[in-house]
């Protein structure tokens, strides 16, 4: 392996959505996120590969940019790296400018802008497969001649589709032989280039036009969007059921088997009440999370998301957001952390801040376990209107409540803002693409692993910690109540209960909320541990659902559901807000308003339900 000094430092740059990250993954074998909309990559990402000559190439994947005259934080990163003014980083040795071969009118302008820098550079014409399908003919030799720099064809999503680029980078690349003056008309030059080297039968893909007729239709477009969203939530609930039953049974059997030969004692209690109760309680939700991710991945790759943003822009704008907020907010349904990071592609700083502030209100996948547990325990399994499942409808309503409150909060923020200058949208709609089953499978596998690792890591550690807190100190001689009442956790829970009693939380819930701060889904595992320890001895990995169904009043369950819509129950989210806005003030505001909303809404829910049910 060669040393870092003689490694070739190469940066990938180009317009958004031209396939830079797909190329990066192809060359370095990494699995950075690729999706079909502008603004997927928002940070610089580094990787390396070994060229055929044996030389090490350090590859840098950069956020897409329409211009080096940056208009958003992600574009600024690209500009800084290209100009060599990025902190702690010298200028790359070589620039690979990537352009979408089906979109050259736009992308060649950026190529010319980069060429002005006078750095050694190669142009990678990507998406050549799509270009050929559309009958676009590109005279590579003419383009090379006119541009004065090497041009290679690539298909970043095909095996070995970047071979030509690898070969070319392995040879010497000089600075471009042509270069424009600072005030040259780049658009005029692009037109000349197109006239000299490109033959294009049609400006757009016929397929896109046909689909957009429906997808962007003022009525059918909205109907399609609503049906799509509703279908996702229904299937998360109904498809996952058999799988969940299987996992639940499997873990219970495993737990029984593991302790069958074990003597009664603290270790056995740790295993059954701590480990298996906690782990099982969370792993069971893997199918639901995977189904949700499957839909999100497929939507991301299809190119539909910016269309949905287009349809919703006006409504979101009225509420103080922007169509551009749609994708970050949709990602937040998976997890608020990538969602908040995705706001970097929003140009307007006010829109960006508002989006960050309301992203935690989107129902992230970590809330699913809590919702599902409570819904299964308290909402009857009934069919409504012969088609829909009542439990599915309640889940849908919880999601809607999150969205509605986000719109409300954004609206209030807009009202209070003194800055009334114009907000920009300027959003590109990409071509539709069929999601690759293999990419979907890989994406799912990754997300599944991340979830399992979380379960294995944080959740396990916290559950065990909680088990300790709930077991020690043991009850004094002659005690009558359950042992946990005397433990540390029992005491802490009872202090907290003073604060939370008005919203109907018992002390078991209060305890579960504490480890739930590290990751929301832990709360379920924690409830499992607490109840397993406070119940009778034969409650080995007793199923939590039926147990709470008999022990909690309905008002408490509804109150907890509502609590989870709002509560800032995730420290990582707060940490990301700090990082992305660079301000503790925003963190306090976010945590404060979320906590306030949660408390007030739960209070109302609890008191009203109690009044109605007596």
């Amino acid at each position: 392996m060669s040393t870092a000094e003689n490694a070739l430092r190469v940066a990938l740059l180009g317009n958004p959505n031209c396939g830079k990250t797909a190329l990066f993954n192809q060359l370095t074998g990494s699995r950075q996120k690729v999706a079909n909309y502008a603004g997927v990559t928002v940070e610089r990402k580094q990787g390396r590969y070994t060229a055929p000559s044996g030389r090490t190439v350090e590859l840098l994947d950069l956020p897409g940019a329409y211009s080096l005259d940056a208009a958003s934080p992600d574009e600024a990163i690209t500009r800084d790296v290209c100009l060599g003014i990025a902190a702690g980083e010298s200028r790359p040795d070589l620039l690979v400018c990537v352009a979408d071969a089906t979109n050259l009118r736009l992308h060649l302008r950026f190529v010319l802008e980069v060429r002005r820098l006078g750095q050694p550079m190669v142009l990678a014409l990507n998406m050549m497969d799509a270009a050929r399908r559309r009958g676009i003919e590109i005279d590579i030799a003419a383009l090379e001649r006119e541009l004065g720099l090497p041009v290679v064809e690539t298909v970043a999503v095909k095996h070995a589709g970047a071979q030509a680029l690898v070969q070319r980078l392995d040879r010497v690349v000089a600075a471009p032989t042509k270069r424009d003056a600072a005030d040259a008309d780049l658009h005029a030059e692009v037109r000349q280039l197109l006239a000299a080297a490109v033959r294009m039968p049609a400006r757009t893909a016929a397929f896109d036009d046909v689909i957009d007729k429906v997808a962007l239709h003022p009525v059918w477009g909205l109907v399609l969007l609503a049906v799509l969203m509703f279908l996702i939530f229904q299937s998360v609930f109904s498809w996952a059921e058999p799988l969940m039953d299987g996992i639940e049974g499997g873990i219970k059997a495993l737990g029984d088997w593991a302790v069958a030969s074990m003597a009664e004692g603290p270790l056995r209690s740790l295993l059954t009440d701590g480990l298996f109760a906690g782990l099982g309680g969370v792993l069971v939700f893997l199918p639901q999370i995977l189904i949700l991710f499957l839909f999100i991945l497929a939507l991301e790759e299809s190119g539909y998301l910016p269309r949905a943003a287009f349809l919703l822009d006006r409504l979101m704008f009225k509420a103080g957001l922007s169509g551009r907020s749609f994708i970050p907010l949709l990602s937040s349904f998976a997890c608020a952390i990538p969602g908040i990071m995705a706001t970097r592609s929003i140009q307007d700083p006010r829109d960006r801040l508002t989006t960050i502030m309301v992203a935690p209100l989107m129902t992230c996948s970590a809330r699913l376990p809590v919702y599902t547990l409570l819904i299964a325990a308290f909402i009857p399994q009934r069919t409504v209107a012969g088609l829909f499942n009542l439990q599915g409808i309640v889940l849908f309503a919880l999601y809607i409540a999150g969205i509605a409150s986000a719109l409300l909060v954004a609206y209030v923020m807009k009202r209070f803002s003194r800055d009334r200058s114009e907000h920009a949208l300027l959003m590109e709609l990409p071509s539709y693409r069929w999601p690759h089953p293999r990419d979907l499978a890989i994406g799912l596998w990754e997300r599944g692993w991340i979830f399992i690792k979380r379960v294995g890591g944080i959740i396990l550690a916290l559950t065990i910690l909680l088990w300790f807190l709930s077991t020690f100190p043991g009850p004094p001689e002659g005690a009558t109540g359950p042992a946990i009442d005397y433990s540390l956790a029992g005491r802490i829970g009872r202090w907290l209960e003073v604060v939370f009693a008005p919203i109907g939380f018992n002390w078991q819930i209060c305890i579960a909320l504490i480890p739930g701060l590290a990751a929301r889904e832990v709360a379920v595992a924690a409830l499992g541990t607490v109840y397993a320890l406070s119940g009778s001895d034969d409650a080995i990995a007793a199923e939590l659902g039926p147990m709470i169904a008999t022990q909690w009043p309905l008002a408490t369950a509804l109150s907890l559901l509502v609590w989870y819509i709002f509560a800032p129950q995730c420290l990582s989210t707060l940490a990301v807000i700090r990082r992305e806005t660079n301000s503790w003030r925003n963190v306090w505001i976010a945590a404060g308003y979320l906590f306030g909303l949660a408390y007030v809404a739960s209070f109302i829910t609890f008191q009203v339900t109690r009044m109605l049910s007596t």
């Binding site: 943003a309 114009e422 300027l426």
Partner: protein
Amino acid sequence: MRSRLANCGYNREPFLFSAYLPVRLSELLPGNTAVVHTVEDVGSADPIARRLRDLGFVAGEPVKLVAFGPVGNDPLLVQIGFTRFALRRSEAARVQLQAAGASA
């Protein structure tokens, strides 16, 4: 506000104004094509106008209004070059069209 009023007037009396040539991108109707004349700055050093020029809204470039958003005919879907962009009405109002380029 101004652009919305202009638009309503145009929609309400299309026949009276059959000889009327749209002068701004925000006044086109879906399916119309035109040629860009210039992009106007709103205030000094308008970053939105600058970005529009970077994206290809420059003199002589054909544009097509592809669709309106479902609420209040906003945003607008505009084809410039080989690319489609969603623009808000106020952004599109910065783009002035050439007199000869319109076809109703």
